[in-house]
């Protein structure tokens, strides 16, 4: 993992890779993130940078790889997945977050997005299935409950070795 991290740094900074920060643009060139529609959110969530530029240090990089590996428990994965899906960072998944999530999934571009009526129907269905306390948003425990019943979550939520 260290080797991969140091490959992302420009040549002159490679010696002190442990303390360097890799800018977001280089992180997004990783093969695992290149095709991922949540790439920006992933960088934002795992980055501990103070200036908000979403750059990642080696520790952040390790965090990201460990969460997406086989040995992470489903609790950890679902916790981070919740943070990734929470587009406005308010601690709950409300309708706008869900709408942005679905748009990310179906792809960029006008013709690949669902129509307004379909989006409404879909969001209604999702909230009906997962919103236990019927407050119109999904909080962390509801999310973890729903994801624990989901058979594909563990299978899909990992990077290839």
């Amino acid at each position: 993992a260290y080797k991969r991290f140091s490959e992302l740094l420009p040549k002159e900074e490679r010696d002190n890779a442990c303390s360097a920060r890799v800018p977001k643009s280089r992180i997004l060139m990783l093969p695992e993130l290149r095709a991922n529609p949540f790439q920006h959110r992933i960088c934002h969530v795992f980055s501990t940078s103070d200036d908000g530029d979403d750059s990642m240090s080696f520790e952040d990089f390790l965090d990201m790889l460990s969460v997406f590996s086989d040995s992470a428990t489903s609790d950890i994965k679902s916790h981070y997945a919740f943070r990734i899906f929470d587009f406005d960072d308010d601690g709950t998944l409300d309708r706008k977050d869900l709408e942005q999530l679905v748009n990310c999934l179906t792809g960029q571009g006008e013709e690949s997005q669902l129509s307004t009526a379909e989006m409404e129907q879909l969001i209604e269905n999702i909230l009906e299935e997962s919103d236990i306390d019927k407050d119109g948003t999904i909080n962390l425990s509801e999310f973890q409950h729903v994801v624990s019943h989901s058979p594909d979550f563990a299978r899909y939520g990992r990077f290839q070795r």
Partner: protein, 610 residues
């Protein structure tokens, strides 16, 4: 991580050491697991397929790998317990010998068997023909049942009861296959049960767990986006469809039901047509081959086409019938998911029932008895002095033909089509486009081959080796065909439910294989001219004969277990246990519902719980 480190520092010294040692032990186990995963067959290939094409297609290749390993183990089983002792005792290795007990109480005309083993100079064409149809020189090798005409093998002073070993090895490989498949499907079943029970959670599953993080290729990502969009749209449409169905009027319902009954009648007619043609083809093939008996020498004087006629008809039926079914089901107006499942079930039925009809027609030929002498033997001794070898030959031909067809389709259909699509820009060709990798079709193909292998192994003990090699080569053929000539399906099957579906159909194939084997072993008289069961009425008879040699006490125990006095209470106890578990499951479901309601109430009125 910071919390973990702070936690560690707060522990006393000896606990720290214990934790450090358990961590290093964990790391050691991880290393061992990683090393042993390198030994896994095709690990890298399947990972790369997963990355490029998603987990749905990857599950097909994992399934293929599972079959390769299963067939190899079955081959090892049969080889070490049946073939190896026969070969050792025939060639006298390790001071061994074999004993052929001359049959008592059996008409002499039943025991005449002179396979034409092509002694002397033969044309190369005859050699090739024999290789493809299992006759001639292949018939007397250890490939077929007829080779094992040994009653006991002696190694120094140890006696090896070959007939019993043959039968027990057959039961062993069937039981092994059954247990292994059940073990693999239990996990999928648990997931499927949860998935089906919480049918109302399927949207969350698709949205929150929909993106496959293994995808690294931008093309694959684009396809995944499209497939997710398609899946969501289809689900929403299905929901609207359900609403529409609920709103149907009486008149419409009557019209639809009568249409469905009519179409089902057509489906049954198509199936009967297939079965009848297979029956006629088998009868024709058997009548026009192996028949001339001149001067007490059987000569196989048929050409390859007649020999392979049943296989050709079965393959044609397997190709045409699914097309007809998918055309017909459009008129039945079911919801999309049910449509797919029903078509799949019909295709499975066609494929597996075709094998059954073939075997049935073979048996009707074998047990057709007109003369008194024939009735004395129990089977048609003139045409089939060693009928197990004949059945083995049919299974061998089916397997070889299946293999040839798969190679031929890839070479002469997939690659030319790809060349045509890339180089020719006329509208019709572009509209046809590249073919998708139809997962269910391919899976049904290999399950059909595996069912043949299971049935055929009793009659041809080295057949699993051929099956192993066949699937090994098919893996590479399919992989190359996938990478170079296919576009991934727009409507992918989800990996979690597809694994379970493959194993269920495989299990159906295995259970279906039990039936012909059971009938051959227990009902049809074994041939008296060849094979290890010459001295017994049927193949099964060797087991009671062996039991009679046991000490009296053990015999009593065995009779007790097999009697009604034991079986009926045992069955009732099992029923009670099942009823208990079903009741427990129902109770748990009710508890979950109650807790759910309570959660909602807490939200609105927390004081009510104080």
């Amino acid at each position: 991580r910071d919390y973990q480190q702070a936690d560690i520092k707060s522990l006393p010294g000896w606990k720290q050491r214990k934790r450090a040692s358990s961590k290093s032990l964990k790391k050691f186990f991880n290393d061992v697991k990683e090393l042993s995963s390198y030994l896994e067959l095709w690990r890298h290939d399947i990972h790369s397929i997963e990355g490029k094409f998603g987990t749905g297609i990857q599950s097909y290749f994992s399934f293929l790998r599972f079959l390769v390993v299963l067939n190899f183990i079955i081959f090892l089983l049969m080889f070490s317990f049946v073939t190896l002792p026969s070969i050792i005792s025939r060639y006298g290795v390790f001071n061994s010998s074999f004993a052929k007990i001359s049959p008592k109480n059996i008409e002499p005309h039943c025991t005449v068997y002179n396979p034409n083993a092509n002694k002397g100079l033969v044309y190369f064409y005859t050699y090739l023909k024999d290789l493809l149809s299992g006759t001639g020189f292949l018939e007397v090798t250890s490939l077929f049942y007829g080779y094992y005409t040994i009653d006991d093998a002696w190694v120094s002073i140890l006696k090896y009861n070959l007939p019993l070993a043959y039968l027990l090895a057959t039961f062993a490989y069937l039981a092994l296959s059954l247990l292994w498949i059940i073990k693999r499907s239990v996990e999928g079943f648990k997931q499927n049960l949860v998935h089906d029970e919480d049918q109302f959670q399927s949207y969350c599953n698709k949205v929150f767990a929909g993106w496959d993080f293994c995808i690294t290729d931008p093309n694959a990502a684009r396809l995944k986006h499209r497939s997710l969009q398609y899946e969501l749209k289809t689900d929403l449409e299905e929901e609207r469809m359900k609403q529409k169905i609920a709103d149907r009027t009486m008149k419409e319902k009557l019209r639809i039901y009568s249409l469905r009954i009519f179409i089902n009648i057509i489906v049954i007619a198509v199936l009967s047509g297939c079965f009848y043609s297979i029956y006629r083809a088998t009868v024709f093939s058997q009548e026009n081959s192996n028949v001339s008996i001149r001067d007490d020498i059987r000569t196989d004087s048929s050409n390859l086409l007649v020999q392979y006629l049943p296989s050709i008809v079965i393959t044609l039926a397997n190709v045409i019938a699914p097309q007809i079914f998918s055309f017909l089901i459009r008129f039945e107006d079911y919801s999309p998911a049910f449509e797919i499942r029903l078509t799949l079930m019909r295709c499975v039925f066609v494929r597996l029932a075709n094998i059954g009809v073939l075997l049935f027609s073979l048996w009707s030929q074998i047990s057709y008895c007109a003369t008194v002498e024939c009735k004395a033997c129990g089977y048609n001794y003139e045409l089939y002095p060693c009928w197990e070898s004949q059945v083995g030959q049919e299974m061998y031909k089916l397997m070889i033909f299946d293999f040839i067809i798969i190679i031929a389709v890839t070479l002469f259909w997939d690659f030319p089509r790809k060349l045509l699509v890339t180089h020719c820009s006329c509208k019709l060709v572009q509209w046809c486009g590249l073919q998708e990798f139809g997962i269910s079709d391919n899976v049904l193909e290999i399950i059909y081959g595996q069912t043949i292998c299971w049935i055929g192994t009793f009659f041809s003990p080295l057949l699993p080796a051929i099956a192993t090699i066949k699937y090994f080569i098919i893996f590479y053929i399919k992989k190359i065909s996938l990478i170079h000539t296919r576009k991934p399906a727009a409507r992918p099957i989800r990996a979690s439910s597809s694994n379970f579906f493959f194993l269920v159909v495989l299990l159906i194939g295995l259970v279906l294989a039990f039936i012909p084997l059971g009938i051959s072993i227990a009902q049809i008289p074994s041939s008296k001219a060849c094979g290890p069961f010459r001295n017994f009425n049927t193949s099964w008879a060797v087991v009671p004969a062996t039991v009679l040699e046991f000490p009296a006490g053990l015999q009593q125990v065995l009779y007790g277990i097999a009697s009604e006095a034991f079986a009926v209470p045992f069955f009732m106890v099992i029923c009670l246990v099942m009823v208990y578990f079903i009741a427990l499951a129902g109770a748990h479901k009710r508890v979950v519902e109650q807790l759910r309601e309570q959660l909602v109430m807490v939200r609105f009125d927390p004081l009510s719980f104080l």
